[in-house]
Amino acid sequence: MTTADEPGTRLRGEAVEAEPKHHVVVGMLLTAGVAVAFGAALLSLPRAHQQLSEVARYAMQVSLPSWNLTEPVNEVVYGTRGFDTFGETFLLLAAVISVVLLARPREPRTGYFGEDVAGEREQSEMEPAQQSPDAGEREARRAESAESDEESEQSEQSGESESSDDPAAVAAAPFPSKTSVEHRPKTPDNELVGGRGPERAEAMSIIVRGAVRTATPILAVTGCYLVAWGYSPGGGFPGGAVILGVLLLVYAGFGRKRVARVVQPKLMESIEMAGAGLIILTEALGLFRKGSFTANWLPLTPPQTIRSGGVVQLFSGGELVEVGTGLIIAVFALLAMSHDWARDKSADEDGGDDGGDANAEDRENEENASQATNAGGANQ
């Protein structure tokens, strides 16, 4: 703050912009109040010489005799306090569902009833202003569909071409990017070093890709190891996070298109639901067979073997699936959020009416059906 006030630094740092803040005084007062309250509370917390809490001592004592588990933390997570973890799992699921819901792209209408063609004459009589749909809106919608179609287009070019593709429209596309896309090699590894790079950052250099290729199998095995060897520190949560890390590395190294072949929402969501189902089944069977939720109903093997925790290991495996796929879905939904190409209304007069927008969208969908093929160049 003090250095920024000096005129010398201001001259040099033209890009330095006063960061917008609001309610600074109120914020400081509230934060100070919270700090005082927290300070008082934190100072009276149990310190390092306190005895372990009742729950913790119980967990330590029960871990080896009744679960054959040498890792009390896992026993707490999936055994003694399994109900907490159970609830927390579904909190995670709820978060994932909200991300998917929020990140969902605009869906094209599935059925076309032709009502706006049928009512065109009346429409033009009633509201002549709305006769032509907004050109900007149309363009935006076309760009949006082009962005989402890009992937499928590329795969079509490498493999079979779809019958719905109008060859004349593709040929008539006046943009040169179309051809450069076609000549791009199938895998980034075949791209010439020093050649003209792809227009979008698709893949990183061969050094990064080589490192990713080396690291990901090791990491993936580590993730599974963390879960399988549940009698030593590990478990489903870290394992799932490691699996996410593997996919993020591949994403960073090879670009989204190659990961998107594996991370298909339908597949991932099915796997996640299977994981959630496994967890519910595991816990519910305890209720039916042993009379209490999260009770162990599996035979216990000797300590320090893979199945030594009984139901704990099953829960942990379910959690690996749940956390792994849940985080993958959430993160990739966020990363793949398409641009919302909606018209910037602030440029025109404020507040376009909603009825007109809906009408425009209907026309858009009709257009998308017929003109999807020549939309490839619209995002130039």
Binding site: E19, P20, K21, H22, H23, V24, V26, G27, M28, L30, T31, V34, A35, F38, G39, L42, L43, L45, P46, R47, A48, H49, L52, S53, V55, A56, M60, S63, L64, T70, E71, P72, V73, V76, V77, R81, D84, E88, L91, L92, A95, V96, S98, V99, L102, A103, Y231, S232, P233, F237, P238, G240, Q304, L327, A330, L334, M337, D340, A342, D344
Partner: protein, 122 residues
């Protein structure tokens, strides 16, 4: 001196709170929330600490002690470590939700400035 850890956790929480209250950039507000989450991890792990203790793992107890000594002996609190473990995963998921909302807000309002997003105020 585990109290220092407690106080640092409190400080990090307050830094996050101050960020949330005073910044106008939505991304920075999410970062402030993440700071507040992070402070709870530090607090949980610090509270699990016991002086001169060992990890609550019964696989190979240190110093020739058996696992049964360890059960009655001095170990870090496994319950708080459990809380930390679950809190991290929830933190990631919640941050993802916030960021998704921020992206949608940015696309809808064409700004990240919280003060310019006042549609609810009429």
């Amino acid at each position: 001196m585990i109290v220092a850890n407690y106080l640092v956790a409190g400080f990090v929480f307050c830094a996050g709170l101050y960020t949330v209250l005073t910044r106008r950039n939505l991304i920075k507000i999410v970062m402030g929330l993440s700071l507040m989450e992070g402070s709870t991890y530090l607090l949980f792990i610090s509270m699990a600490y016991r002086a001169g203790s060992t990890a609550p793992v019964l696989v190979s107890p240190p110093g020739g002690r058996t696992a049964h000594d360890l059960v009655r002996g001095n170990v870090a609190d496994p319950v708080l470590q459990n809380f930390c473990l679950t809190a991290i995963v929830i933190g990631v998921a919640v941050t993802a939700v916030f960021l998704t909302i921020v992206v949608r807000v940015a696309q809808h309002y064409r700004t990240l400035d919280a003060d310019k997003i006042r549609e609810l105020r009429g």
